[in-house]
Every structure is written in C-alpha cells, then in structure tokens.
C-alpha cells in the first residue's frame, strides 16, 4: 500500500483503518476525513472540480509526510486526495496516522492536513446555482500551517498554552 494516493476514485475509511491497524503494536490511530460541503459562502454547492499539478502534488505530499515522520514517532501514515469532478457530500481527502503515542498521532495528522491545505497544489472550482467559481485561499489555513513553524522555533519558550 503506498503512503500517498491522488486519485479520482472514492476511498473507504473502513479499509484504510484496517490497514493502519495492521501494525499490531500501535496504540493510537487518528484519522481525518473531509467531505465536499453542500453550502459555502451562503450558496448551495452542487459539486466541485478539483484540478492539481500531478508531478508536484506527489513530491509535496511526500515531503510533508517525511517532515511529519521527522517530528513524531509514527508507525504508519496514509494520505489520499481525490481530484476531478466531485459532488456535495463526497469524500475528498483522508489522512490517517498510527503511533504508539496518542499525542504524536493527533499532532502528526493535523500537521499533515494543515500543510496539505497550504502547500499541495490542488485547486477547487465550485459549482453553484450562481455559476462556477474558483475558491480563494483562506488566511485561516495559512495561520494554521504557520503555527507548526512557530511551535518548532519557540519550543522551550514562555508559552504555557502551546501543544508542543
């Protein structure tokens, strides 16, 4: 099973969970799954078309997973992103992480998603009754990804509230 799949076909969270669990020693599995929302910016969304830059997508996702493995002890990692035409309610992205440690599994899974959101070359074009529109990147996602850099830099700093 590859660690990373970019595909048009749907995926099965149940099957991915079973694969992540095959490593018997793992205590913790954290999984994220994202689905196409039926509403966005106040408009009803019928579906969306996902474009990507294939050669770069693969290498960026590999780099993100490698960074996660450098930061946390992980037994298994799986990232799936769908491309092409999708419909409201469809599954779009999956990230699953297995680790002996709960905190590592949570952090690595969220780290991968935050970085995927801001670094992996995917673009969504949404279909609404008002017509089609390319989605704009959101500052909130950039902020979410930036926390991980800051966390690394300020590791032993003043902050009691960090989740480092």
């Amino acid at each position: 099973m590859p660690e990373i799949s970019v595909q048009n076909e749907d995926f099965s969270v149940a099957a991915e969970y079973d694969l992540l669990c095959q490593e018997f020693g793992a205590g913790a599995v954290v999984m994220f799954s994202g689905r196409v929302r039926d509403m966005n910016l106040g408009d009803k969304v019928g579906g969306l078309c996902l474009e990507h830059y294939p050669a770069m997508t693969q290498s960026v996702l590999e780099a993100i997973v490698a960074e996660a493995r450098d930061r946390w002890p992980l037994n298994a990692v799986r990232v799936i992103h769908r491309v092409g035409q999708l419909h409201a309610g469809d599954q779009i992205v999956f990230t699953g992480v297995a680790s002996a440690h709960r905190g590592a599994a949570f952090d690595a899974c969220e780290f991968i998603m935050d970085n995927l959101k801001t670094r992996a070359p995917f673009w969504k074009k949404e279909q609404t009754l008002e017509g089609d529109r390319w989605l704009e990147a959101r500052q909130k996602d950039l902020d979410a990804a930036a926390r991980w850099d800051e966390q690394e830099r300020s590791a032993d700093n003043c902050c009691q509230g960090t989740k480092a």
């Binding site: 770069m56 992205v93 992996a120 673009w123």
Partner: protein, 82 residues
C-alpha cells in the same frame, strides 16, 4: 527550451495550460515574467498579481531564482485543496 505551465484560474484566464519557450525567456523568473507580461493585458494581470506562485521543477521559488534549459516552470494561484 523551457516548459511553462499554468494552472486553475490562470489556465482559464490565459486560455493556455502549457507553453514552450526558447532563449527569449531569459535566465530568471523575473525575465520570464517580463516576457509573459508583454503578451497582453490578461497575461500582465496574472504576472503582477501579488499572490501568484511560481515553481521551478515542482518546487516553489522566488523571483530571483535562475531558470536553465530543460526546466519546467509553473505559475499558479494560492492552493485550495484539502
């Protein structure tokens, strides 16, 4: 020869997903941007958009990066996957 790719909104706006360019592209991202800007107002608009990203051989770079023969250069808007 270099290969130049455009994605998503820019691909649509320029009506172009891929270009082949020769030595006229110059040796840096800046010179390539200048050449493309001269192709018309819609091209100039994409090139001067403050959030346009550029990648050489699938790695995002800044405008002072060098371009060599055989490189693949891509222009695209901020990513919106996930």
């Amino acid at each position: 020869m270099i290969k130049v790719l455009f994605f998503a909104r820019y691909r649509e706006q320029l009506g172009c997903s891929e270009l082949q360019l020769g030595e006229e592209a110059g040796n840096t991202v800046s010179s390539l941007r200048q050449l493309l800007s001269d192709k018309g107002e819609n091209w100039a608009e994409v090139m001067r958009h403050p959030t346009t990203l550029v990648a050489i051989n699938q790695t995002v770079v800044s405008d002072d990066a060098s371009i060599a023969a055989g490189d693949e250069v891509a222009f695209f808007p901020p990513v919106t996957g996930g």
